[in-house]
Subunit: 769 residues, 2 copies
């Protein structure tokens, strides 16, 4: 039922054969990015068939007008939109004046795409017969440099097969682009300068309203029989500029165009110096040349993989999938810039305005903590600290007072971008995940300093919100939280969502405890924070009262917490008894029917059991898993990974493996029938968790790493590395035993299957599973 | 705090003095209509100040693109929009070539508007000094004929005061109009013909998509010193045509332009004969001339008032208000066309797409039943019968089966026009009101025939919906209705809204009973209905099961039904303890805050107590009134009337009177600060109910009229008439007694204060209050 045209391979994503119906899907799957920019795998040459064009620059967005049916107070005026950026990859090609267009060729053979994840490049090769009967063999390699992250490089080779022919390349820049999801056909870019000097061209444009200035640039030359050909001036317009490289190519010979291009952006350069910066970037790139830059690319990716690879033996589809997930996460965010975050579609599509969701805190931070320097996770935390003022403003707009903070559901600059009341105003559990990430960072890295420096202020704002958002129910004699949407977005405006109430209570308790600890251990910081936030003893007392009397809906009959008040009034038909013609329900059912059904989009109570595992027994987990999973439709990309981890914990490896496949190959196999729109980047971190925390059973216990390794029966072994407090630990699990080794010069004590194990540098320790 | 510039008067709405800030408000308040068309009180001459232009044709709409943030399955593709129609009232005026424009005059004095409700005309008079220092005295009278309902008439008189002057009238037609609420600046009208013959002009245009063809027409001439002046050709364009009447007018003399205009529409005339029909209409009007047509207008309104007037002595504001309400209802809908209905803004604005809400069944039908021939109410019922197929389609779109019918929340042609999930999909109680109106019609008129002929099919469709929409809760061992929005729209997606559950149960019971009665008494119709609907005994059994085991949330502690599950978990702070700066909450609070608050927009449980009064004791009513009214913010125009009736029933006449004023002068005093957008037409029927059912205590008891008359202490007497089963009964209540008299030749037995009273034609019966 799902797509399966991607060839299995350990290190590459491969498509063979040209199929116009797969173009948009492959444009997503073969996307490339380098953290600073990225683009869908659009063809360089003109393609008159169906395509979804997209190039994106990290942090460049547009505040589009909010579109709603009936306006409600508190809605954001604007909606930060991921913007399609000027196109620098374009290279139109003419063979004897006939345009090369895969949509009009008489014949196409040997079409192949390869995304080489090991080395970080994307290659497309094909043979084509043009309408004028000329046959060509084409090979294009493209990459976005990790070393010079403002620059991408393309080599575009054409061999003419059946006769001599004139080959004309028209490399161009184009800022006359639009967004697919434009609400009112608005223009988002204003172009001010279009100019060229020698073999370079530049378009300077800025976004409307936000006024991000961008210089899009290119440089082109070609090589034919070892001779360099310099580009000459081409056409230009108000939003377009091109160069021309033309050559009579002999039958059987090949001509290769090299194009460097990219963006310099006002967020990184002085105003008015963007073109100068572009020239510097091009100087650097052309000093190295295409091939040397590609060598550097391979080395840079090798060093990323060195730390973050997970190898799997015996299951090439699983292997390909996890590498695809890790590759995409690294293409999206490398942790070098605390102004950036991990957009749910990365650089692969426009869908979902804004770049930052609770996905970052709930799913992505563990991956970045374990596979990068801990500064990267700290940057992600700091991103929220930088947005604290805006979160306080946001809460104020909704009627909260005294510095209560409600972080936005979706954001680009700290302001809310989402505008459905049931999400924007009610999916407030996101505040909890942001607090949890502060705890999680400390738990994993052991670095407490973030809390007195920044985290505590965030925690205070969040706790103020929870205390005000809860109210005392005289009927229940408990504090209740009414009118929320939990992680399971297939319920809206419910009362006492267990997950929300639980994380709210936890936030209040955790904040109270941290205030005490900071008071005792960081007197100076404490004084500063008290001064800045004016948090009072009375307020802390209120937090304790609310936390102490929080209500949790519970079913005595079933011995489970209820997802929310009234859950048991539903018609409790299990997913397995639903006719498959009704699935996915989000495509088949009207919203009211989804809402009154028991069906769960993604882990909700089980998400709480994941975060707060230690608060519950294995038996409780099992009861809740068995009660809720049968009602779970997993129609969120974030669902299978948590279920995979929980199933593994329950020793149900078959189920865990199926959930793993579903999360890891979500896009490759297009489970949700929407890969055309872009990839699900943030859930890819959940895939990593499925292996490391699920199969590997990695946890932090008693301030130390702990493992309970298992292995799916389909695998012969798997291996991953963790950066734990600056020690690199390699873990290899096979069907019988697990090997551990560490780099460095210090011993590390870990737990394996609840027993202490001491790891000594240079030694491999093996523990039977 | 509310506006108070309207002068008190028994029969007229009067504004004195020109104030540019009141123009849009007065444009609403002085609107005129004749059931077939209507328009805001826009100036005929050009006005360069702030104005909201609006002319509307009954039944002519446009299916605009639905605008939502995030699309949900089941949303209507299109949204029927009340369309601004071509302008036929326009008359530009030039004095010595200087345009007369109230926004640019040097001085304006003696400005007065009068809407004479007794006679059905609107007059505007003023003196103005133009920028060129010429002083004029102007008087314009306009009305939309009740006799020739395609025609309106204007007399426009100008006297030049301080010198001789050239007066030029440019009467025109303009189809180049737009809607204020256009989503995407779309063009809704396409004009095909613009032409003139002698002193007549015509524009033929059609609506996009719906293809309603409309011929907008006019005829103009003028009289100066008893001599007629015929118009000459003026400018024209693709969407505009004008005529010119120009005269040198002597100082102190007056020239009067007479303009007839209006629309002929393809819904009423054969295709291609619209212009011919327009000529016929103009022939009729001009044969009579302006003055005779106005005489007929006065007679027509006299006959409407003869039946529907309510006179109040001792309280001119209350008197003016009730007449304003009755006048507007009659301007909006006269009951002559079963394709039409009562739009919530009538012909006074664009807001709210579609024309038909549950307002018609819940509020308007009692007014039309009692003040018109009973055929009018029958037509309103038939309107829903005609839409039954569409209601079944609508339910099918939401996943219901077997002929279940869900009537739309808002409609123009039977299709849903609303597109917020919490309303469209969840405010399903509307289905109940539609069934209730069938019962109410029979109860009041005694005409059972509608049920076997049409009503029973509607009831079956509705009952099928309720049975499928309810589900059995194993936890409660009752049927529950989950995920609804009740009449109180300040709660969304709640479980077991008492009103919804109650009316659902009632529908099931009522339908079952009617099936039985029709089976016994109308065998032929029964066979037809069974054949058509395939309703089975098993199905009826299911209805009985659901009705018999319906769940009603109840608080033992408070001895009241709960508005919905969980109501008592709210922070129950009474409205009287809310800071006034927080009111109205729909303008001050974000939606989530409104939702989790206990505040009630309009009667919800009390609406059920109103519909099903006999099911509850006076003590129960009192308990529920005292429990819920203190949480009610009355931010719906439909709220005060029901509360006025209930307060009167509880003998709380002071409170009842205040609610009466609030409902009756809602627009005149602009309680909701939005009268600029148009009037609240449907709630005006509630005002009528406040007097007749509230103060007069009119009910149907034991198949007879019954009264428990009371009178507010501010009044010395009030009087109303009822058409009860073709007998006209006049009821006059003063502070001591109530007089009854009847027309016709048959005795009628009624109840007054629970005692039988026999009314004999020609006699006045007096009963002490």
């Amino acid at each position: 039922m799902n797509q399966d045209y991607i060839k299995s391979d350990h290190w590459s994503i491969i498509e063979e054969g040209f199929n116009a119906e797969r173009v948009k899907s492959s444009e997503s799957l073969f996307s490339i990015g380098n953290g600073a920019m990225g683009q869908r795998a659009n063809f360089e040459e003109n393609y008159s068939g169906e395509t979804f064009q997209g190039s994106y620059i990290a942090g460049v967005y547009y505040p589009d007008k909010t579109r709603v049916g009936w306006w409600k107070n508190g809605y954001p005026e604007y909606f930060a939109k991921v913007l399609n950026a000027p196109n620098w990859i374009g290279i139109n090609v003419f063979i004897n004046n006939e345009p090369l267009d895969l949509n009009t060729c008489k014949e196409i053979s040997d079409f192949k795409r390869e995304l080489n994840m090991q080395e970080g490049w994307y290659k497309r090769t094909f043979k084509a017969t043009l309408p004028n009967t000329i046959k060509v063999e084409v090979a294009i390699t493209r990459f976005l440099s990790l070393d010079i992250d403002e620059v991408g490089a393309i080599s575009y080779s054409i061999k003419v097969i059946n006769q001599d022919a004139n080959v004309k390349f028209v490399p161009y820049l184009d800022s006359g682009i639009t967004n697919e999801d434009s609400n009112w056909d608005d223009k988002f870019w204003n172009t001010t300068v279009v100019e060229d000097f020698e073999n370079r061209a530049f378009i300077t444009s800025h976004t409307m309203k936000t006024n991000f200035k961008v210089c899009t640039f290119m440089q082109a030359n070609a090589v034919y029989k070892d001779n360099e050909i310099i580009a000459t001036k081409g056409d230009s317009s108000e939003t377009f500029i091109s160069a021309i490289i033309e050559k009579e190519v002999e039958k059987g010979e090949e001509i290769t165009l090299y194009k460097f291009g990219g963006y310099t952006v006002s967020t990184n350069h002085e105003n008015g110096k963007l073109q100068e910066a572009a020239n510097i970037a091009l100087d650097k790139a052309s000093a190295l040349g295409f091939h040397k830059l590609l060598e550097k690319q391979k080395n840079a990716w090798a060093s990323i993989w060195e730390m973050s690879d997970i190898s799997i033996l015996g299951d090439v589809k699983a292997q390909q999938a996890i590498r695809f997930n890790i590759f995409q996460l690294n293409q999206t965010y490398l942790g070098t810039d605390s102004r950036l975050n991990i957009g749910p579609k990365g650089f692969t599509g426009e869908k979902y305005g804004g770049s930052t969701y609770w996905d970052t805190e709930a799913y992505c931070i563990p991956f970045y903590m374990a596979t990068k320097d801990q500064q990267v996770a700290r940057k992600l935390l700091k991103y929220r600290y930088n947005h604290l003022e805006k979160a306080i403003e946001n809460a104020k707009k909704l009627g909260f007072v005294k510095g209560a903070a409600l972080y936005p559901m979706v954001t680009m600059n700290g302001e809310e971008c989402h505008n459905e009341w049931e999400i924007t105003f009610e999916e407030i559990h996101r505040n909890g995940a942001i607090a949890f990430a502060i705890y999680n960072y400390y738990r994993y890295t052991g670095d407490y300093s973030y809390i007195p420096e920044m985290g505590l202020e965030v925690l205070i704002g969040i706790s103020r919100f929870w205390q005000q958002r809860a109210n005392f129910s005289s009927a229940k004699e408990k504090y209740v939280i009414l009118g929320v949407t939990g992680p399971n977005e297939y319920e809206n405006n419910v009362n006492n969502n267990w997950y929300t109430n639980y994380i709210a209570k936890w936030c209040l308790d955790f904040t109270t405890a941290q205030l005490q600890k900071v008071k005792e251990e960081y007197a100076e910081e404490y004084a500063r924070i008290i001064d800045k936030t004016a948090v009072s003893d009375a307020e802390i007392k209120d937090w304790k009262t609310v936390a102490g009397k929080m209500y949790f809906p519970y079913s005595e009959e079933n011995n489970v917490y209820l997802q929310q008040d009234g859950f048991l009034d539903k018609e409790l038909i299990k997913v397995s008894n639903l006719d498959t013609s009704q699935r996915p329900i989000n495509q088949k059912w009207s919203w009211d029917r989804i809402l009154r059904s028991p069906y769960i989009k993604q882990a909700d109570i089980l998400q709480g059991f994941y975060f707060f595992e230690d608060h519950f027994t294995q038996e409780e987990l099992e009861k809740h898993f068995d009660f809720y999973e049968p009602f779970t439709v997993h129609e969120s990309s974030l669902s299978p990974c948590v279920h995979s981890i929980q199933a593994a914990k329950l020793g149900r490896m078959g189920q865990a493996y199926n959930f793993y496949l579903r999360t890891s190959r979500l896009d490759l196999d297009d489970y949700n029938k929407e890969v055309e729109e872009g990839l699900h980047i943030t859930s890819m971190a959940g895939t990593w968790m499925s292996i490391v925390e699920g199969f590997g059973g990695m946890r932090i216990q008693d301030n130390a790493l702990s493992f309970i390794p298992q292995i799916p029966e389909q695998w012969s072994s798997y291996s991953f590395k963790l950066n734990f407090r600056n020690t690199i630990i390699t873990v290899t699990v096979n069907t019988k035993e697990t090997s551990f080794s560490i780099l460095g010069d210090q011993e590390v004590t870990i737990q394996v299957n609840h027993k202490k194990v001491v790891l000594i540098p240079g030694e491999v320790v093996k523990v039977t599973n």
